[in-house]
Symmetry: C2
Subunit: 135 residues, 2 copies
């Protein structure tokens, strides 16, 4: 077994860790990855990777997210340490969201996948059309 295969096996083992317990939280990799696999997480991280945004700016930037989901997703990202939330005591108050160092690091990895999707979505959609046509 060469180094690359060995590496894949190790990662798989890590990914599987906790499977026996039946509890997702027991597997650190699956647990962490789930946090960025939410419907809006990747989109918001991508936006904040560009520059900090205020709450209302994010709403306008992503028109089809509900206000509830925007709040919740930002809180989850903050909880995981990806996003920093800063309140400015103005009247009316304004809140700015920005990526932390951990968030920028994560975005670097996530972005590889987003770039891949940007370059290859044509193949995926063609594969889908073929599959659906075949019945």
């Amino acid at each position: 077994m060469d180094a690359r295969v060995s590496d894949l096996r190790t990662k798989l083992e890590i990914y599987r860790a906790g499977s026996n317990g039946g509890n997702l939280a027991n597997c650190p990799v699956r647990d962490v990855v789930q946090g960025v696999f939410g419907r809006w997480s990747a989109l918001l991280v991508s936006a904040l990777a560009e520059r900090p945004y205020r709450f209302g700016e994010l709403r306008r930037l992503v028109p089809d997210i509900s206000q509830r989901m925007l709040t919740q997703t930002l809180r989850d990202l903050q909880r995981d340490g990806y996003v920093h939330r800063e309140v400015f005591p103005t009247k009316p108050p304004s809140v700015e969201y920005s990526l932390t160092d951990l968030g920028r690091s994560m975005h670097g990895a996530l972005n590889v996948l987003l770039q891949w999707a940007g370059h290859n979505h044509g193949d995926v959609r063609r594969a889908r059309a073929r599959f659906d046509a075949a019945g």
Copy 2:
């Protein structure tokens, strides 16, 4: 604006495309990424990146996936062109699943994120603990 920022903006634009229509399917990147953001997709792709597996082998490899979800996730991955399904007309029949070229390509990008999670889940969990402790 330097090249890197411009690149991020471009990706964000791609990622946002279709937001106006309110239909996820209108945005190719979000659409494709959602396909690998399912609960079991990444795990199965990682497994199949190692070597081809038969249905029963995958069940034993991932004990906490239900048979229903294993079938469904494999079909979705096959539909998106990541997985090849080959039936051997033995008695009883056996079915082998393997990654396609597209699947291997996607796994290369996905794996960056999994590796990142493997290396940084400690920071994430500490951030969570801090957030929860703060109330």
